[in-house]
């Protein structure tokens, strides 16, 4: 068979790190959090997979997956309506033993028979809290060239203040790597070190056969976490490689980082880096955005379908937002369908979908603490 593509299937875990942004995931998953004016977080890893030629992607959902299913549909916008493979959304299987999965092991166990029946040589796994321009083709080639058992992509960056100060015992774990050359010698769970760390992007490459064996064994032993229970005990006897990713990366691990990572895209160089390769998303058939005669816009990223009659400055506007006459919106993220009434004033506010700010309201958050307004709320 002719193939310019990588010989891999993809697995995305849409609910990992839900616990870090509880407000944003009240009725959605991390994967379906709106990001960068017209996308959802999952669009980034999913598009990276498609751009690498992966046309067999499973999304192993855990909970709150209606918005994600609505977003993904049959996968057509990502060119994933395929006879073989394509998009495969796997909801929790309601059986007598039904329980929501916690770690990756249970999630992968739930698709084990699927994994056994596939033909691809490798599996790429990714979470959905990371928007990056990672080249999965290159990642897999690295995995092959180094003869690795498992390859983990990582980025060199310091741990954020939010990460270091989050004491929630139920929070999702993060990992840093210790390297000897590029070989991983230790996997550190939620360290609190200052300075630049080899922070795991939680993107893994492993051969399908090895993954199946790993999961069968781990599940039988009642293990939960792939990193802690499968990789860590074998970190010295397996060849576990670190793949250094130095491209653009947006990481959502708190409301603050959600705000900052959106705002960072107002720097054109950042936006160009993140969108160097096409990123696919659901089509909404909006009109172009209309700026009326009295409008003022400065330093803003604006999706289609908006009507701007007032002032916007340092803002990210999603599709179909309306800013009425005399309204002044500064340093805000307004999600799809937000309406800002006449002469309202807003600063450092994140509005979720379909929020209405009534006329003459005055709302103010701060750079370190942007105020979030729930989906559908009328203020």
């Amino acid at each position: 068979m002719v193939s310019a593509h990588v010989n891999a299937l993809g697995v995305i875990f849409p609910n990992s790190y839900d616990s870090l942004v509880p407000e944003l995931v009240t009725d959605r998953s991390m994967a379906s959090i709106p990001f960068a004016s017209r996308y959802r977080m999952i669009d980034f890893p999913l598009s990276s997979m498609v751009n690498a030629g992966i046309d067999n992607v499973s999304i192993v959902v855990r909970k709150n997956y209606h918005s994600l299913m609505d977003h993904l549909g049959n996968g057509r916008e990502w060119d994933l309506t395929r006879k073989n493979g394509g998009l495969n959304i796997v909801p929790p299987f309601a059986s007598k033993a039904a329980k929501m999965y916690h770690g990756r092991i249970e999630a992968l166990y739930s698709i084990l028979s699927f994994l056994r029946s596939q033909k691809e040589e490798y599996v790429i796994m990714s979470d959905a809290n990371v928007a990056s321009t990672i080249d999965f083709k290159d990642l897999i080639q690295y995995h092959i060239d180094t003869g690795a058992d498992v390859t983990i992509a990582y980025a060199d960056r310091p741990l954020s203040e939010d990460t270091l100060t989050n004491d929630d015992p139920n929070r999702d774990m993060y990992y840093t790597l210790e390297l000897d050359g590029q070989r991983i010698t230790d996997l550190r769970i939620m360290p609190r070190d200052l300075g630049v760390q080899h922070l795991s992007m939680n993107i893994y490459v492993v051969s399908r056969k090895l993954l199946i064996a790993q999961i069968e064994d781990a599940y039988a032993k009642g293990y939960v976490y792939y990193e802690r229970d499968v990789l860590l005990p074998h970190i010295r006897d397996w060849n576990v490689q670190g793949y250094a990713f130095s491209g653009y990366i947006a990481l959502i691990h708190s409301m603050r980082s959600y705000f900052d990572e959106n705002m960072r895209l107002l720097d054109e160089a950042n936006a160009e880096a993140l969108f160097a390769e096409p990123v696919y998303t659901k089509i909404r058939d909006d009109t172009p955005t209309r700026y009326t005669n009295g409008s003022i816009a400065s330093n803003a990223m604006v999706a289609d379908g908006c009507v701007i009659e007032g002032t916007i400055e340092n803002c990210i506007l999603f599709r179909g937002v309306k800013v009425e006459k005399g309204a002044v919106v500064r340093n805000c993220i307004l999600m799809q369908g937000t309406v800002v009434g006449q002469n309202a004033q807003m600063e450092y506010i994140i509005t979720d979908k379909n929020v209405t700010i009534s006329a003459r309201q005055f709302l103010k958050g701060s750079a370190s603490f942007p105020v979030y307004i729930n989906k559908g709320k009328v203020v």
Partner: protein, 402 residues
């Protein structure tokens, strides 16, 4: 299974009066209104009216149009039975023919229509900007027990001689047809949109096909023949926005009218009658701190650093710092470099206007010149393009074209 009504969309026209804009593509494929092409309007009208089977008759430069239509998915016209089909002229055992006229184009595709056993066929034109509910037109056709109906617009009497006119009685029954007459008896202009009972259309197409002297045209041949035979013919009054964008000036004007939906009557922002199009897939547009944007429409993927006033930017347009864009229609992926001044013009896709170039000018009294730049052209640094210019080739640095 039969379809009540299917649509046949005439999209073969060259649109020769759009000159440089239609050198590489057919008129229905000309971009319009920021993210659309002209053909999106009749196609979206079909879907919004409940018509799920559309044949598109193409002939001139069909490549862009074919690729754009694809499987019809953006218009929800990818159907198991029906959907959208592009119908170019084809070779038959008895030889092949180009479409000789509008009626001949339909006549050569009788077998396509018969696959769906329709009761009615609506004939549409692929070069008009109009939002119209064809189901209301069909309701009229059925109420009148008509065999043929034509959608008409009231036009000012002084302009009536430019149109094909329907003379009607008080019951809207058509008694006479005048093609561009000197002395009009009516001001009801044909919009070129017809509903036929299929059995009647089929009979008159075949009769017309046998007439060696016929031009095989609906207006010149089919309608006069129907009148000759006293068929039940009615005029359906349409009073919404309608524009034949057949000239550079009317295309520019229609785009400007999109910017003023409150007064112009063309409202693309109406969620109850969406116009669908193939999506660019680009991220949201960016307005920099140096930009000034007023009274304009900006589409995904644009980067605006300069001044944009009363203009339409299609997907992926870049306006650099210090550039001025006013009363202009700038099509997809075009770049306008710093210091360039672009006014009262249409700039097609993938054009580069280098620094300090001047394109077009605000019109003086009585003039209506709209400077036009063809796609993929480069206008050199400091070059000057006059308000009536039609630029098809690169213009070198510092040169002028009028």
């Amino acid at each position: 299974m039969e379809k009540e009504m299917i649509a046949m969309l005439l999209a073969g026209g060259q649109g020769s009066r759009l000159y440089a804009l239609t050198e590489k593509l057919a008129k229905p494929a000309v971009p319009f209104g920021g993210k659309y092409r002209i053909i999106d309007f009749p196609l979206s009208n079909c879907v919004n009216s409940g018509i799920d089977t559309v044949g598109i008759l193409t002939q001139y430069q069909p490549l862009v149009l074919n690729e754009y239509i694809g499987n019809g998915q953006p218009w929800d016209l990818d159907r198991l039975y029906g959907g959208v089909h592009v119908l170019p002229p084809y070779q038959k055992s008895s030889g092949s023919d180009w479409y000789k006229g509008t009626a001949n184009a339909i006549c050569q595709n009788i077998s396509f229509i018969e696959r769906y056993h329709p009761q009615y066929v609506i004939i549409l034109s692929g070069d008009q900007i109009c939002k119209q509910d064809y189901s209301d037109f069909l309701r009229f056709h059925k109420e009148k027990n008509a065999e043929f109906s034509v959608a008409v617009m009231e036009v000012p009497w002084e302009e009536a001689p430019r149109f094909g006119l329907m003379v009607t009685d008080e019951d809207d029954r058509i008694t006479e047809f005048q093609e561009k007459p000197k002395n009009p008896k009516s001001n009801l202009a044909s919009m070129g949109i017809y509903i036929f009972n299929w059995d009647i259309l089929r009979r008159y197409l075949l009769e017309d096909d046998d007439d060696p002297n016929s031009e095989n045209d609906f207006g010149n041949n089919i309608i006069p023949n129907l009148l000759r035979d006293g068929r039940d013919m009615y005029a359906y009054h349409f009073d919404g926005y309608w524009k034949d964008v057949g000239t550079i000036h009317s295309l520019w004007e229609a785009n400007m009218e999109v910017l003023d939906p409150e007064n112009s009557g063309i409202n693309l922002f109406d969620n109850d009658w969406k116009i669908y199009s193939r999506n660019s897939g680009m991220p949201g547009h960016y307005i920099s701190p140096h930009a000034q944007v007023k009274d304009s429409m900006i589409t995904d993927g644009c980067k605006v650093h300069g001044t944009v006033t009363h203009s339409i930017l299609f997907a992926g347009v870049t306006v650099e710092e210090g550039a001025i864009v006013e009363d202009a229609v700038i099509m997809g992926q075009t770049t306008i470099r710093s210091g360039a001044v672009v006014r009262h013009c249409i700039v097609a896709e993938n054009v580069v206007i280098e620094s300090d170039a001047i394109v077009g000018a605000m019109p003086a009294d009585g003039e209506e010149g709209v400077a036009t730049i063809a796609s993929d052209v480069v206008i050199g640094r400091g070059a000057k393009i006059g308000p009536n210019a039609m630029v098809r080739k690169n213009v070198k640095e510092g040169e002028e074209e009028w």
